[in-house]
Amino acid sequence: MSGRTWAILAALLLALPLLAQDKPAGEKPKESRTAYLRRIFEKDRASYGDACRAVLSLIKNEHSDADFAAISGDLAGRGVVRADWGVQEASLLTKGTLAYMVCQALEIKGGVTMRLFGINRRYALRECIQRRLMTSGTVDEYVTGRELIDVITNAMIHKDQGHTDSQYK
């Protein structure tokens, strides 16, 4: 066999793994169904992407498998997140951000201050704590995966019943 044949064979061998892949190299496989819940449960820090998916599922009342761009676009369109935040999918989630999203998703208007001056992360967190959607904390405190699951659970009950009292009785 000539050197040229060997070169072609070697190039084919190198290219085969790339050709076999459905997706371009570097793109992570799409996570579907309930796997994200179990992954969130084990995480020390929940990400903004986790919260977006969970909150959109809460709003739509069905599980959402869409990618982050579609989910965050949908949430921005509904006013649940602000387009000028510029938060990345893998960014760590803070309690203030989560509270803002939950208040907007549940259409919680808040008290006098929030009605007068509009919603921000600090007022939203105070409102969520008062309604026992979230436990105490500060605006810039990171949210653990387990906390995120509890907050979404409480938010679902709040959406159904108008309060979260059944969680505490």
Partner: protein, 252 residues
Amino acid sequence: MLSVLVLTAAAGLAGSQEPKREEFEATLVEVKGTVDVKRPEDKDWVAAARNMKLKKGSEICTSVASTAGLLFTGNIKIDVKPLTQAKVEDLAKGGNTVNVDLKLKFGSIEVDIQKGDLNSDMKVSAPNSTTSVSGSHGIVRAPATEGGCRVTLRTTTGTWRHQASEVERAIFGEDVADNHGNQLRDLRALADSHDFIDFFGRNRDELYQGRFAGKAGDPDPWDVPFFDYANNGPTAPRSKRASTLPLPPGTP
């Protein structure tokens, strides 16, 4: 040597008198939304389907707005609530007793045990506690963060008393305790809650400070959402209160 033989024979006799344990399978009778299961023979989680059989060691996980109904025997049914992960630890029948052990990783389940031919011995384990449920209807919740467990069983009676107003009322229905055995109903935990505000806050002056006599124009002052839990149970529809009360009797 003789004593060892005698003991061994006695142990053998005792063992033979115990009813034989026979494993059985639970059936998924209801699936709503996104529900996954992982049976012992499955390598990964698979989508749940109606009439699927779950044996000992199977796990179930529900997503947002998704529920599943598990039928163990004719008289034991469990509803797996949204955002829940649970595992069937034990599932066996021995004599006329059914043993069901469920391990709740997070989330909540609603247990419904009806009286039947078989006695039920059911345990629900949360990360830090175990609840035995027998002949009742109840909800067991395991928050993901606290690692604790809240239990609501509709099997007990008691008295609900508010110290400040000296209002006392018998409760027939649910009993609530956290995993430390604290009775949340006795108002040590409820006093600063929304329920308290809901009930006492709306017409507190009218009802408890003698501004008006009698029931202060409210045709049924007890007919408020808080007591719906006690009177009708957690799954019953809540009462709708009028936004404003009618004027007190005698008002021109």
